[in-house]
């Protein structure tokens, strides 16, 4: 199985299909949300099959509820397996979050406490995913607005232990780091310095919204704005440590013209190119 290239990719939006086909090969890779391709046929599969011919593919799930207290949905795992067998993506990733409770799917990435109990459960879920899909998965760090009184692990130690126990890789969302650090009033650089960088196989960059609380800003992970300047700075600092990594520009709401996304991608590519020149072996 090949890997995503250490270049810049975009989250695929159907309205940009013609632009992407016209720009054949200009993008390093494309990322799609797995759940949007779980219909039987029609436009989504026709577009993805056409795009797949010229692009490396990252399949990004938003529905497995890996951080949930309940057993994983075996039907959903089976649907993922079908998609992976059909499109052979270079990467499959999911979130450290939960999104199902009982018979309800909630369409959001909800937070979990970091305890010995949740660690064991998340690791069992990651093991089950990797066994069912027959491949290593990447787990993404969350953006959060609250924490839990009962948490006994830091998020970075929790992630590092998941990596150690399951062998999974990590998807480092630098915007999520900045959002969570701002919201919980800690230093994003301290978080990144303790992040298990060796396991990072992809980076996400996205925009956020800002609300004001009496104690200071509350950032919302909206995926509906340009990447913020402090996030670009953190991204460059991460690359200086890790060397070049596949980097995705995520923009899911209020999707702009394709040229705007290309502009964001070009900015990431310039930073990747700079670090490739500084890391001739890593390129």
């Amino acid at each position: 199985m090949t890997q995503l290239p250490a270049t810049t990719g975009l989250g695929f939006k159907a309205e940009h299909f013609r632009d992407i086909m016209a720009a054949r090969g200009a993008l390093g890779f494309l990322e799609v949300h797995a759940e949007n391709y779980m219909g039987e046929g029609g436009v989504p599969h026709a577009m993805l099959a056409a795009l797949r011919e010229d692009h490396a593919l990252s399949l990004h799930g938003v529905g497995l509820s890996i951080g949930g207290a309940e057993a994983l949905d075996r039907d959903h795992l089976a649907r993922l397996r079908v998609l992976i067998d059909r499109y052979r993506p270079e990467s499959f990733s999911e979130h450290l979050a939960w999104s199902s409770h009982g018979a309800a799917w909630l369409n959001d990435l909800l937070p979990l406490p970091y305890t010995d109990e949740t660690l064991a459960r998340v690791c069992a879920h990651v093991d089950q995913v990797q066994e069912t899909l027959g491949r290593r998965m990447l787990l993404e760090n969350p953006a959060t607005y609250v924490t839990f009184e009962c948490s006994t692990w830091t998020e970075t130690d929790f992630l590092a232990e998941i990596v150690r126990r399951t062998g999974c890789g990590l998807l480092l969302d630098v915007n999520n780091v900045f959002v969570s650090a701002t919201n919980h009033r800690y230093c994003p650089r301290a978080y990144l310095s303790s992040f298990p960088r060796h396991a990072v196989a992809e980076i996400h960059l996205a925009g956020h919204d800002t609300e004001e609380l009496p104690s200071g800003p509350l950032l919302i992970d909206s995926h509906g704005a340009p990447v913020a300047d402090p996030v670009w700075t953190l991204y460059a600092e991460v690359l200086a440590q890790t060397g070049p990594l596949p980097t995705l520009i995520e923009w899911d709401t209020d999707v702009p013209e394709f040229e705007v996304l290309l502009g964001e991608a070009a900015r990431a590519t310039a930073l990747l190119d700079a670090v490739k020149q500084g890391h001739p072996d890593a390129a």
């Binding site: 759940e35 949007n36 779980m38 219909g39 039987e40 046929g41 029609g42 436009v43 989504p44 599969h45 026709a46 938003v62 529905g63 497995l64 949930g68 207290a69 309940e70 949905d73 039907d75 959903h76 649907r79 939960w98 999104s99 199902s100 409770h101 009982g102 018979a103 309800a104 799917w105 909630l106 369409n107 959001d108 909800l110 937070p111 979990l112 406490p113 305890t115 109990e117 949740t118 459960r121 607005y145 609250v146 924490t147 839990f148 009184e149 009962c150 948490s151 919201n183 919980h184 009033r185 609300e211 609380l213 009496p214 104690s215 509350l218 919302i220």
Partner: protein
């Protein structure tokens, strides 16, 4: 000292609070008095994203009742019938029946059928792919013994209300025609160019199409009514996937 709540108990509390005014116990934040505002981000994300997903699936229902009514209705519907799994393109199949029995919409008896039509369009959009036969496939001797396999996206829609006409009146660029009293029939399907079509048909052609969809021979279906309009429509939109003699497997 109280024992720590289990993961399952915390998740159940968190989930319950998504539908209640107060945040759950057990959360922490740098300023505890801001917990409600912080938790509200999750509550808003869940309710807003599900409401917008429903509106994307049922845009004409939203146009008919207005955004404020739709949002209030969606809140009741989502609490009662949330998505059962992450495949959102399948969600909403029970909204029509919910609307049929939703007292605030009792003055709009056709609303449930407009929702059925919109849901059928979504199903057609994501139905399995299948080939389309060329018109010559029907240019054979023994035509009356042919049975047709219709494209998987074909849905035969019928309503005792003028639901098709109402739906059409809410399409961009439509001109308002006087409403007939109903009933309405239509073929809802996906053409080879991926356009989802809603083609009104009369009751006679609907009867022919119903028989064809159940595997009747053309000759048998023609005993209902002249099959020409139905066959013309099926061929125009590439909705015949196979034409064969003998039983359809």
């Amino acid at each position: 000292m109280q024992p720590e709540p289990s993961h399952a108990a915390l998740q159940a509390r968190f989930h319950a609070a998504l539908w209640q005014p107060d945040p759950p116990r057990g959360l922490a934040a740098v300023a505890q008095d801001e917990l409600a505002q912080r938790f509200a981000v999750y509550r808003n994300n869940v309710q807003h994203s599900l409401t917008r997903a429903l509106a994307a699936r049922f845009p004409v229902v939203e146009q008919i009742v207005g955004a404020a009514f739709f949002t209030a209705m969606a809140r009741v519907f989502i609490a009662a019938s949330p998505p059962a799994d992450p495949v959102m393109l399948r969600w909403g199949g029970v909204l029509p029946a919910f609307l049929d029995g939703f007292p605030p919409a009792a003055q709009l008896p056709y609303l449930g059928d407009v929702a059925r039509l919109e849901y059928a369009r979504g199903r057609a959009c994501h139905a399995a792919d299948a080939p389309s036969v060329a018109p010559e496939a029907l240019n054979v001797p023994g035509l009356e013994d042919l049975r047709l396999r219709l494209h998987p996206s074909v849905h035969l829609f019928a309503s005792p209300h003028p639901a098709v006409q109402i739906w059409q009146a809410h399409q961009p660029g439509s001109t308002r025609a006087p409403l007939r009293a109903g009933p309405n029939h239509a073929v809802i399907a996906r053409a080879p160019d991926f356009a989802v079509v809603v083609e009104p048909v009369d009751a006679a052609s609907f009867a022919v199409l119903s028989m064809l969809s159940k595997g009747a021979t053309l000759g048998h279906a023609a005993s209902q009514a002249d099959p020409t309009p139905a066959l013309t429509l099926l061929l125009r939109y590439g909705l015949i996937s196979d034409a064969l003699t003998g039983d359809i497997q």
